[in-house]
Homo-oligomer: 303 residues x 2
């Protein structure tokens, strides 16, 4: 067998990530854990115990805590090239720094840009799921490498259809129209959108539209990122105050910063459900198939 026909290597930062394991099982990859050692002085050292020369490599990495993983991540890509990898792609189901897409105050970094610059300088292509595209409408306006965006919407709509009898989808803001609308259509359910005003990291006002017509339905709050849970918990309280059944909270990316879970439970949420772009006990929507499909398309062009 010639070297070019060897399976691509899947270099996994999270050896025990069910997502990466499923990808390796289904995808004809050779899974190799990335050893990550942290020295007592704060430096890190990565190790990939496999022969990389002449191989296509894909790095699988969660960007849930982007600053602490950035150097190990870039270091793996750099090292793979030093050791003769034919290509180095990145599968990051959750793409960090997408919400920092504007200079909100003078002299601030638009962090999405330097972050994209670093990733683009080290990887040949990127596969991610529902990046927070707000002021940038397309990833290729930020990333200089081929980037595939996988949508979790069909799988989330599918979860709603199978689990909620009479759902009312609730989107977090007017910008979510496109994908909440698409999820509602696929789930065959009505939807409403909130009006959101942000005052700070953890200080958000939400305004419910007219909802009297939908009181017999179970609200399903949908967002791309479940971070502090402030918006969602306020919405949960608002809907319960309006006489609704305890809402279900559904999000793609289980960031869960701070006391998010406690906030939502205390507010009265019936259930928290997330996709598995970030490993978390609330994961119930498996993104493995569409991510694998996108990855295979990138690898096809490199064979």
């Amino acid at each position: 067998m010639s070297e070019e026909r060897l399976n691509p290597l899947l270099l996994c930062f999270e050896g025990r990530s069910p997502f990466a394991n499923r990808m390796a099982e289904q995808g004809d990859f050779e899974e190799v854990p990335v050893g990550l050692h942290r020295f007592p002085d704060g430096e890190s050292l990565v190790r990939v115990d496999a022969r990389l020369a002449g191989r296509h490599c894909v790095v699988f990495c969660s960007l849930r805590s982007p600053d602490e993983i950035l150097f190990p991540l870039l270091s793996v890509a750099y090292t793979a090239r030093e050791l003769g990898a034919l290509s180095v792609g990145l599968v990051a189901p959750y793409l960090a720094y997408m919400r920092q897409d504007k200079r909100f105050h003078s002299g601030e970094a638009v962090s999405a840009r330097p972050f994209a610059h670093l990733i683009s300088n080290h990887f040949d292509y990127l596969v991610t799921v529902d990046p927070h595209l707000h002021r940038y409408h397309r990833l290729d306006a930020l990333y200089r490498i081929p980037a595939t965006v996988v949508s979790a919407v069909p799988l989330m709509a599918d979860w709603i259809r199978r689990n909620i009898e009479k759902p009312l989808l609730v989107g977090p803001d007017q910008e979510s129209l496109q994908w909440v609308g698409a999820a509602a259509e696929l789930a065959n359910a009505p939807f409403i959108l909130l009006e959101k005003t942000r005052h700070g990291d953890e200080d958000v006002d939400v305004k419910l539209p007219e909802v009297a017509n939908w009181r017999e339905r179970t609200p399903v709050l949908i967002d791309d990122i479940l971070s502090t849970g402030n918006t969602m918990s306020k919405t949960v309280r608002g809907l319960i105050a309006e006489g609704f059944a305890p809402p279900v909270c559904l999000a793609v990316h289980a960031v869960f910063a701070g006391q998010a879970e406690a906030l939502l439970t205390e507010a009265g949420a019936a259930r928290l459900v997330t996709a598995n772009s970030i490993a978390h006990p609330t994961n119930a929507v498996d993104l493995c198939d569409p991510v694998l499909h996108a990855l295979r398309e990138h690898l096809k062009t490199r064979r």
Copy 2:
């Protein structure tokens, strides 16, 4: 006054660092703190509240905890250029990752290289103090930008002359010959070198040479980096067992990982003394003047 004649901006990551403050006072710089905000989700955001367009900028940053500061550091450089800075230099008195200068096991990163690559991609020049040059003998073999190495040796020798009556300098290994020898000559004192064998991050053997002739002298253990303190504490014990007075421990870079201070004190060290490349209560050797001198030389070429 034309814009070109404005003082350079000193963008300081540590607003209250005495080092940066002294530099700003003495160096005709305009000191501007770098605001560093950490969001609850693990992302960071830097802000420089000054007009950077048309200005020469120098970023002052400690690399004591390199992974967590890397993105903010690169993000500041990126943002300064976006906002029109004429040049962006880096003053990092302690240069991280220099000890990872070899692939110790197959598949490992030689982290010094990807780190140098990142710094070289974002800054125009670098000023640092006594980087750990071991297998790489010069910074320009790693860094693609002009890099000035400031030596702390004269100032450390000066400290020894002023504070220790009859010193015996003790270098950590055979590689330290050049600079321990130079310090000994400047301090007008004899020196010996240890033989060191490293078994792991925190597991080091040291062997003393014949020292009977020097027992009436105060040992001054010198190293470039005081990290875990394992080597030094073993040496302190060894010298005390040989009948020496409690040794003084002198290092350029006060990394002090883990329980280093306690280890050295328990071993019987008389005193811990460091230069101020990393802010620490043991700082007693001020590197401000030579660092400022090196920085002025870089800036001269840009006026």
